[in-house]
């Protein structure tokens, strides 16, 4: 395959960036999207040009490091992560535009790399269950209804990649937040902090500069782990309950 790539290049957070066009030949459809970028980078270095910086690590769809807005879609045209996207999803001769996640809460570090530490701060604000090591009761002393445990698991599969924010026309991180609130809120262990958790996390979310949710639904469509929109409803419900209870 032969491709034309328009890639966002930006030297650092302060610099202004621009899309730069590259031609790449000899792309195999068995390559993953990131392997295609590896090939481009080898080619660029051969020409004495600095390689394109992009985030990636496990390359098996679970660590959440990889990102990329590929032709206007977070993680590209398939429901998966960029590292699991393969070139057979593209056609010979195609022009592909590759941009970083665009969100003021995720400032660009370099080229396609962004800083997602806002997510860590949202978790630190309340996305946990306070259980000091050693203080745990016997695991089976508190049964958790199977359906609730399954819902908790289904939404706990969030990989924190930020595709929801990238895809959201409002730049909101409600899906990310809702996934954590639903995960912990469905489990008996998560009940004591349920009220403070949602209030604190939402406050941190807003302070980070993420946009407000208007239930558009692009987030759930872009989520490589298919986290459903109902976690946002759950978030809202928990928030309403918490505020009513004076949190």
């Amino acid at each position: 395959m032969r491709l034309t790539l328009k890639i966002w290049r930006q030297a650092d957070a302060q610099a202004s960036g621009a899309l730069k066009t590259y031609d790449l030949d000899g792309v195999s459809e068995d390559m993953s999207f990131l392997e295609m970028l590896d090939v481009l980078n080898e080619q660029l270095q051969g020409q004495g040009e600095e390689p394109v910086a992009f985030d990636h690590d496990c390359r098996e769809g679970i660590c959440g490091t990889c990102s990329l807005m590929i032709d206007g879609q977070a993680h590209g045209p398939e429901v998966t992560t960029t590292c699991q996207l393969h070139m057979r999803s593209f056609r010979d001769g195609q022009t592909i535009t590759i941009e970083p996640w665009r969100s003021d809460a995720f400032p660009v570090v370099r080229d396609l790399v962004v800083d997602r530490s806002a997510f860590d701060r949202i978790i630190a604000s309340g996305g946990f269950i306070s259980a000091n090591t050693g203080s745990a009761p016997e695991a089976n002393s508190v049964p958790a209804p199977r359906d609730k445990a399954m819902r908790a698991f289904n939404v706990a599969t969030c990989i924190g990649c930020g595709a929801c924010v990238a895809a959201c026309p409002n730049g909101s991180a409600s899906l990310f937040m809702g996934a954590k609130i639903t995960h912990l809120g469905e489990l008996p262990q998560g009940q004591p902090e349920r009220g403070t958790r949602v209030v604190d996390m939402v406050a941190q979310h807003d302070a980070e500069g993420f946009g407000g949710c208007t239930n558009i639904g692009e987030c759930a469509g872009a989520c490589p782990k298919e986290i459903p929109l109902d976690v946002i409803s759950q978030l809202n419900k928990d928030l309403r309950t918490a505020l009513r209870n004076g949190h």
Partner: protein, 674 residues
């Protein structure tokens, strides 16, 4: 498991080994035996309890004055940061990733073992201990393993309390499955994402401490040097990967939880960033590297599809429960559509060679068998290099037996993943699999307290060597990481810290300055060579050498050849590598250059270790040590020891220190799967 011997732990059941072979002669210098392992004696079931009592305490008021550096935020590092933060120590946590949540523990699929015996199927602490030592082919330290089995139950309690959504049965209680060929159901799991869920639990606990102010997280930071002052580890030199700034971080104690080094093979199931640098820098500062040649190669990975391949993806081992592994009997059939090859022309080689276990033989046996049939030219799939590297894993019989729905229910997500990567539908065409490097049992040497031979340097998780011997059982890596992080390290590190806070040292201390200068010089060196080859091309070549000669089967001649090739490659690297860009910005090529430089040194040591160990044990198979039937042959009389290697200078022969393995609670046996 029946045994006539007294297994209380009060009597030594083994004899000290005496090595008679010396394959690595000339490549190493013999050294003194390893000194104190601090492994307690007495009844095996009471050793950890007694040791915890003997370890000194740290006054809570003093804890905030004690600085602890933890490198790595996987299960071992993240759990330790959370726990030590909760205890009130002043923790600095480092990771190269953009968030602590991304450490590669996250990718573990299968589950985590714990001797809860919820199924009342005869499990116990002793049985988990027994299985782990046996699975490690009697090359681990028994006191450590027993402790691991003992704390396994606490891990599950802790994780459930944190909100880890383990699978549950209809009554709302925890579900278990049997995993990796063991006969009891002791594996707790969260679908195929157990590692992710456990890591997120540890990460959240750690972030809670970040908010509480006890833990400071330094993300996108890479440790590039260990600071040793007066024989004690006192800090690290790290590079801020965003700004490029070289930073000095001083502390009272340093913990390395930096994971394994499987990426020395270039292609592995590890994350792209997984590296040996933190451990290797410590090794160069005097920490022993133990059993570096012990590598686990996983038989069920998606095969290489071409030169562009950057990593290999593991497919859960559970697939072997229903899939049948075969290759064509005749090499000329290898490029045919497998569905057109009649039954009588297929060689179900595992079922043929191992009728008792069939497709469920242990990982190393299944891996080696696949290698042999491919070496014979009977591999399938695309040509990679000069032959095809793949065997079929065929579900057509299982689909006939269980129906497509039955298979879908069990393996749908795996089948989807396979199709996404290969573009082939495994419901219609047999899957292709090939072994890949997955885990390393070797690592920095530690004593019972998880302290290396450098005072104040502790090593946990995959980065240390201690618990898995020569091979690791399935669902035991997560167990070890969390055991170390939540329960072992916090109880052993306090004995060391009871002597602290240590004398303050300044950044101007000559040893600190020297460490920092060496890092700065190294960075400048990479940028100034300005040669013709990219870092990746060296990494690929090293990986190729390691895979060919220090992979599934190792031989004396091959290892010697590999050592020569690696030395040549290393020399070329330092004169001809090309690293573009600057030191003061995000520069991924520069990061890789440092990692590959360390892999080159490690690769050589792995080959020397493999050359010295003229026996086959666990993940290490020496062609010269096999039975008449081609099975692995251990030599306990010669090699029942831990090989702890000391660095003695660039291009100098390393020094071999031996720690004899003493068993008091388990008898050594030769395994057989025929």
């Amino acid at each position: 498991m029946a045994s006539n011997a007294d297994v209380s732990g009060l009597t030594v059941l083994t004899q000290a080994p005496t090595q008679t072979s010396d394959d690595a002669h000339g490549y190493y210098t013999p050294g003194e035996p390893v000194g104190d392992t601090k492994a307690p004696a007495g009844l095996i079931a009471e050793r950890w309890t007694k040791h915890k009592m003997d370890n000194r305490l740290v006054n809570p008021a003093n804890r905030r004055k004690l600085d602890v550096i933890i490198v790595g935020t996987g299960l071992a590092g993240g759990a330790a940061a959370a726990t030590l933060g909760e205890a009130g120590y002043n923790v600095k946590s480092f990771c190269y990733q953009d968030s602590p949540r991304r450490a590669h523990s996250i990718a573990a699929q299968g589950g985590i073992n714990a001797a809860k015996n919820y199924k009342e199927d005869g499990d116990s602490t002793y049985r988990l201990f027994y299985d782990t030592v046996k699975g490690g082919d009697y090359r681990s330290r028994e006191s450590n393993v027993y402790r691991l089995a003992e704390v396994s139950v606490n891990i599950i309690d802790q994780c459930v309390a944190q909100g880890v959504p383990f699978a549950r049965d209809y009554g709302g209680l925890l579900d278990n499955r049997s995993f990796g060929g063991v006969q009891v159901s002791r594996t707790f799991y969260a679908r195929g994402q157990t590692g992710q869920q456990l890591l997120i639990g540890a990460y959240q606990a750690m972030e809670r401490q970040v908010a509480a102010g006890t833990v400071t997280a330094y993300t996108r930071h890479e440790m590039l040097e260990l600071i040793v002052v007066d024989g004690k580890a006192r800090g690290i030199i790290a590079r801020d990967l965003v700004t490029g700034e070289i930073e000095t971080h001083l502390a009272d104690v340093v913990v390395l939880a930096s994971g394994g080094y499987g990426n020395v093979f270039y292609l592995s199931t590890n994350a792209m960033g997984s590296n040996v640098t933190a451990a290797w820098r410590a090794h160069r500062k005097g920490a022993y590297m133990a059993n570096p040649c012990y590598t686990q190669i996983h038989p069920t990975c998606i095969p290489v599809s071409g030169d562009h391949q950057s990593k290999l993806t593991l497919m859960s081992e559970s697939l072997r429960n229903d899939g049948r592994i075969w290759v064509p009997k005749n090499a000329e059939d290898c490029d045919k559509d497998p569905r057109d090859i009649p039954e009588e022309d297929r060689d179900y080689y595992l079922e043929r060679i191992y009728p008792a276990f069939g497709n469920l033989v242990p990982r190393d046996i299944a891996s080696r068998a696949a290698k042999y049939v491919c070496d014979e030219g009977r591999g399938v799939g695309p040509m990679v290099g000069d032959f095809r590297r793949g065997v079929y894993l065929d579900f057509s019989a299982a689909i006939e037996r269980l129906g497509r729905d039955g298979i879908e229910e069990k393996y749908d997500n795996l089948f989807d993943m396979y199709e996404r990567i290969t573009g082939e539908n495994p419901y219609e065409v047999p899957m292709r699999i090939y072994p890949a490097v997955h885990y390393v049992m070797g690592g920095l040497w530690v004593d019972y307290d998880l302290q290396s031979n450098i005072d104040g340097l502790f090593v946990t998780g995959e980065a240390n060597f201690s618990d898995h011997g020569a091979n690791r059982l399935g669902a035991s890596a997560l167990m070890q990481g969390l055991a170390d992080g939540y329960f072992v390290l916090p109880n052993t590190i306090r004995d060391y810290l009871a002597d602290g806070p240590f004398d303050k040292i300044e950044e101007s201390h000559p040893d600190v300055v020297a460490a920092r200068t060496s890092v700065e010089e190294r960075v400048q060196k990479f940028l100034s060579i300005n040669g013709n080859r990219t870092v990746d091309s060296y990494h690929k070549e090293l990986g190729h050498i390691m895979w060919e000669y220090c992979g599934m089967e190792r031989s004396e001649d091959g290892l010697r050849k590999a050592i020569d090739m690696i030395r040549e490659l290393k020399a070329d690297f330092w004169t001809n590598v090309k690293v573009l860009g600057t030191a003061d910005s995000l520069n991924q090529s520069l990061e890789k250059a440092g990692r590959v430089a360390d892999f080159l040194e490690l690769g050589e040591l792995m080959c020397i270790d493999a050359l010295n160990r003229r026996e086959s044990c666990g993940g290490h198979f020496r062609a010269e040590s096999q039975t008449d039937e081609g099975e692995a042959l251990r030599h306990d009389d010669e090699f029942a020891y831990v090989a702890a290697w000391e660095f003695s200078g660039d291009n100098e022969a390393p020094v071999l220190h031996k720690e004899d393995l003493v068993y008091t609670a388990i008898e050594m046996k030769q395994r057989s799967y025929k």
